[in-house]
């Protein structure tokens, strides 16, 4: 029986029929970027979450959550984004709205909160995140932020991220809009420096921005600013000083790149530093863009050196992992795409792949990449994840915190590709780390006993 039919028989969520396809079985488009279906136990968070994860790595900003305490509490320092300087971003500030504030409005409290924070913490920018409540009680965030900005002579930027107003992707856009306001005000466009780019969609988890910056430095490319890993107010403000934007996490940053192209004529292209193949291709792509012969030869030197270094290690893992089957359920499409390629590099087939916020184009790429029979699904839930992992005989799941215990309870190995991890998965070093982690979990003696 067709796997999809089986699912519809025993798992019921008919509203989700179009969000699941089997490669090679159906011709239709996968439905994505829609609201989650009530009661399906989606793995997704909300608009606020999307905004928070994108903006939070701005290290020297005050991040103030305007809302009840939970929103701030659940997102306090949950990212593994590292900073080379300020650690102001690791605080979780909240207006902690109470019943009275909800009845009488939270504007005055917000204004006082900004006063208090600005006085206490030197910062040039305050991001004020709207939560569900703010959208409903109708606080005029724009007005409060403007008044505070005038009063303190710093930038106070509202982030329109009411939780119910769309899904996590809408939060990415809200964060990008906030960042664009930072840049927009800097109209004094300085001559673009030679061989300089902005690096979009890397949040410096476990120092990943630093790894990539080192590669780029070696081939003669300057990073003007990374959005938003280890970024600072002033660097973001000067984002127009780069001649091109490269995008790692497209889900969160393609909108930003498109807007910057419109507004400042800065071109962009996608890259990926996940896995050997993508890292190599991306470095070459950058050298080709700059059209610099010297840079191209530097890239080849770097690739040659690093490949020689990591290949034997990867080969060791490949021999041990060959033929294993993986399931992927991650936040964004770009990560999913890179993972398919990375698994190939170490001899593993992908049998199920899904994301929380993948875009149409990303699902098309995924569909092209995977083998016939692979399940592709958008905005999945525990019921479906369990079903397909078991049906397809997956030995391994890639996911985040919520998926981990499910995999373990199914007796399936697991690797974290979540945002609080403590080891880098980018670049050549990351490719080895991933293989090592896959080996550690897949080949653990524990599975002998279950």
């Amino acid at each position: 029986m067709d796997v999809r039919e089986a699912v519809l028989q025993d798992t019921v969520f008919q509203e989700r029929e179009d969000s699941i396809i089997t490669k090679g079985k159906q011709k239709k488009q996968l439905k994505c970027d829609t609201d989650s279906v009530a009661g399906c136990v989606s793995q997704r968070a909300c608009v606020y979450c999307g905004a928070r994860v994108v903006l939070n790595p701005v290290t020297d900003a005050i991040h103030l959550v305007h809302g009840p305490i939970g929103c701030a509490s659940y997102t306090w320092d949950i990212r593994g984004s590292l900073s080379s300087g300020s650690d102001l971003y690791r605080n979780s500030f909240s207006t902690d709205l109470k019943e009275q504030d909800v009845i009488f409005g939270g504007e005055k409290k917000l204004a006082r909160a900004i006063d208090e924070l600005v006085e206490k913490h030197p910062a040039k920018v305050v991001f004020v995140y709207a939560t569900c409540i703010v959208g409903v009680i109708g606080d005029d965030l724009e007005a409060v932020c403007k008044a505070a900005a005038d009063k303190h002579q710093i930038e106070v930027i509202p982030v329109q991220s009411s939780g119910f107003a769309g899904n996590k992707s809408a939060g990415y856009r809200a964060a990008c809009d906030a960042l664009l306001r930072l840049i927009q005000r800097d109209n004094a466009k300085v001559a673009q420096k030679k061989n300089t780019l902005n690096y979009l969609g890397d949040f410096n988890l476990a120092g990943e921005v630093w790894i990539i910056k080192n590669y780029l430095k070696e081939i003669g490319v300057n990073v003007n600013v990374a959005f938003t890993g280890d970024s600072k107010y002033q660097a973001l403000k000067n984002a127009t000083h780069a001649s091109v934007n490269i995008i790692q996490c497209a889900g969160s940053m393609i909108y930003m790149a498109e807007r910057m192209k419109e507004l400042y004529k800065i071109p962009y292209f996608n890259i990926s530093f996940l896995g050997l193949q993508d890292t190599t291709a991306s470095l070459r792509k950058i050298a080709v863009f700059f059209g610099d012969e010297d840079m191209m030869s530097q890239v080849e030197k770097l690739v040659q050196r690093e490949t020689v270094r990591v290949e034997p290690e990867l080969e060791w893992y490949r021999q041990r992992l060959q033929g294993k089957k993986a399931a992927i359920y991650v936040g964004g499409g770009f990560k999913a795409i890179s993972l398919v390629k990375q698994f190939r590099e170490i001899g593993i087939d992908v049998v199920m792949i899904g994301t929380q916020t993948g875009r149409k184009e990303e699902y098309e790429t995924i569909n092209d990449l995977v083998d016939d029979g692979t399940i592709i699904l958008d905005d999945a839930n525990p019921t479906e994840l369990e079903k397909f992992m078991v049906d397809k005989g997956a030995h391994l799941l890639v996911g985040g915190v919520k998926e981990r215990p499910l995999a373990y309870k199914l007796g399936v190995a697991f690797i974290d590709h979540n945002h609080d991890r403590k080891h880098p998965l980018s670049g050549f070093v990351g490719a080895v780390n991933l293989a090592k982690e896959v080996y550690t979990t897949l080949c653990s003696p524990v599975w002998k006993y279950v």
């Binding site: 009530a38 909300c46 608009v47 207006t95 902690d96 119910f164 919520k402 981990r404 215990p405």
Partner: protein, 479 residues
Amino acid sequence: MDRGKSGANFRDVNENPCNMCMPMGGILVLKGLEHCMVIIHGSQGCATYMRRHMAEHFNEPVDVASSSLNEKGTIYGGEQNLKKGLDNIIKAYQPKVIGILTTCLAETIGEDIGRISQEYLTERDYGDLTVITVNTPGYGGTHSEGYWLTLKKIVAKLARKTETHNKINVIVPNISPADIREIKRVLQLMQMEYILLPDFSDTMDRPYERPYKKMPEGGTKLADIAAMGGAVATIQLGLTVDDSMSPGKYLEKEFGVPLYNLPLPMGIENTDLFMNVLQELSGNPLPTCLEQERGRLLDCMIDSHKYNGQGRSVIYGEPENVYGVVKTCIENGIHPVVVATGSKNLKLAQLLDECLANAPIECTVLTETDFTTIRLKSRGKANIAIGSSDGKYLTEREGIPLVRYGFPILDRTGGQRLLSICYAGTTMFLDRVTNTLLENKHKNYRDSMYQMFYQGEQEGQELSTESCGEQHVMLMQSN
């Protein structure tokens, strides 16, 4: 005693929250009912964030549904979303009982979950499905209040006046699955029949088994809750709980079930209180093995008393747990210097007044507080912290080592397996605390002695200004 600025929401900013919101507590309780599925009426993020926190703490899958309110639902009402959500969870999980909790959003737009759920049951003809609704606006209190309020609502909804039977009701605060199992073990040793609520000892700490069950076994049975009105007595481990949220009080008032409202049995005195009530109610003496465990706890206390005498603790978390830890610290010569909770809790403040009245070192008590305040008050005073993972900055930024206890434990594994109550659990807890004090002492004493006393050959050596816990203890001793 320094009351800090307790009892009032004194500032306009909460800097690094020391609590979570009401629905979180509600989920915990509902996960302790047999075959219960929870749906949160609000936007998708609330359910997901709480699942994430719980999955990380318990290392278990935590399925919680959401009505996934979007803009349309927010403007025109979320009734259809909630009903559709109920349809879907019934299909996928076949629960025996459903808990519906609200969020800030649902409360603010005025959703009447009681009416909607009644309508739903009638429309779908689900006469035998139990639905428990609890209003848990995120701005209405902390997860601790959400916990107790949900317990009270469950009891109010399900308990009946039944014929008296020989079971006792045992109502527990937010303790670990291992702690709940410890209570059950003690009750069995005392040969008592009981109804324990909530019981997430199995549902949130499941043995590995095949095939995987998405609705795990375990949890308090609905029939047992219904029988709570006919119990011999209620033991509620909720000394700090306000009467308005007290399930034990409700059972006493409605059905005349005598209430023994006791502190969490942590430490020798509080565990004695618990054991005494068990002896009184059962008519059985303490069995030898429990007596021996008490003796071993005493032995442990003696073994560690000198090391503990150097302890200056900051203790934070949910009121009931905080009180248990404070008592345990005091019994062992560890001086609390900061005691804090994110909840607004007058009873805790009163209880602490009593037990800290004669403390030789001044203690700051903070209620409705945040971690920035806790850090400030602990700086240079505390050399050990006891509480959830959220206190990790006390270590990272103030050099105060943290013994993880309570909820949530996100940065270590095994939150569900931490045993800390009754005689045996207190012994384990105390060893964890003492060993952390010792580790810190051993780690720092060479350096701190050198810094304090070594003058060298030259003059002008300055003492380090680093606020290191060990050095601080030495200074206090020399004072």
